[in-house]
């Protein structure tokens, strides 16, 4: 087994690692109790998984074909930057559209700031509020 083979193996194992993380985080998406906690799974584990995978691919191509893929690097950077932002945006949107925190949640410092005592539901979130009513 020469060096390049070893490197390839490393790459492939990274990919496998990414795959496993991905499945686990997908499980997280199923298991975790509310959208906020699920977004943790998405923004962190899924991002790690894709980073591992892309890095693996990058390394593989580098080693196998001597090909330095700028596109992969860009992809990695891109995912790295955007995944947390996406998580942030979805969570904010969820909260602002009044998706409730899971039962058994602790303190919520945002609620009084954002909604105060008002009880009206904004117009556009009708389909969400319907669902909420069902749940409650």
């Amino acid at each position: 087994m020469n060096v390049s083979q070893i490197v390839e193996w490393v790459a492939v194992l990274m990919i496998l690692f990414g795959a496993i993380i991905s499945v686990v985080s997908a499980f997280g998406m199923i298991r975790l109790p509310d959208v906020y906690t699920r977004s943790h799974a998405a923004t962190k584990s899924a991002t790690l998984s894709v980073l591992a995978c892309l890095s693996g691919a990058f390394i593989y191509f580098w080693s196998h074909d001597g090909y330095v893929s700028i596109r992969l690097i860009l992809g990695i950077i891109f995912v790295f930057i955007t995944a947390p932002v996406a998580g942030h945006l979805v969570c904010r949107a969820a909260y602002r559209s009044r998706v409730p925190l899971a039962e058994g949640s602790g303190e919520d410092l945002l609620k009084p700031v954002l909604f105060g005592d008002e009880t009206t539901v904004s117009e556009h979130s009708e389909e969400l509020s319907i669902k909420l009513e069902k749940k409650e």
Binding site: M29, A46, Y60, A93
Partner: protein, 94 residues
Amino acid sequence: MIEKILLISLVLFMIAIALLLYRVIVGPSMPDRAIGLDTIGVNLVSSIAIVSILLNTKAFLEAILILGILAFIGTIAFSKYIERGVIVERKSNR
């Protein structure tokens, strides 16, 4: 062997996507579905990377980047829709 592992990884990613699909279908809230789709997109990114290795081609590396971009744009769009009902505003309220 390497190919096998890659194939296994692909299968794992597909399983992950299937699980996420469940989230997309079941919800229960819109943000749940949005995250689900976003994550499916991200998993597809990985899958494309693996297929590229399997097919030994660099033809799909753009697709990886683009998919990443689109997943991001899509998530922004969804969250804006969920949050404000519109995804493009005429004039920001800021």
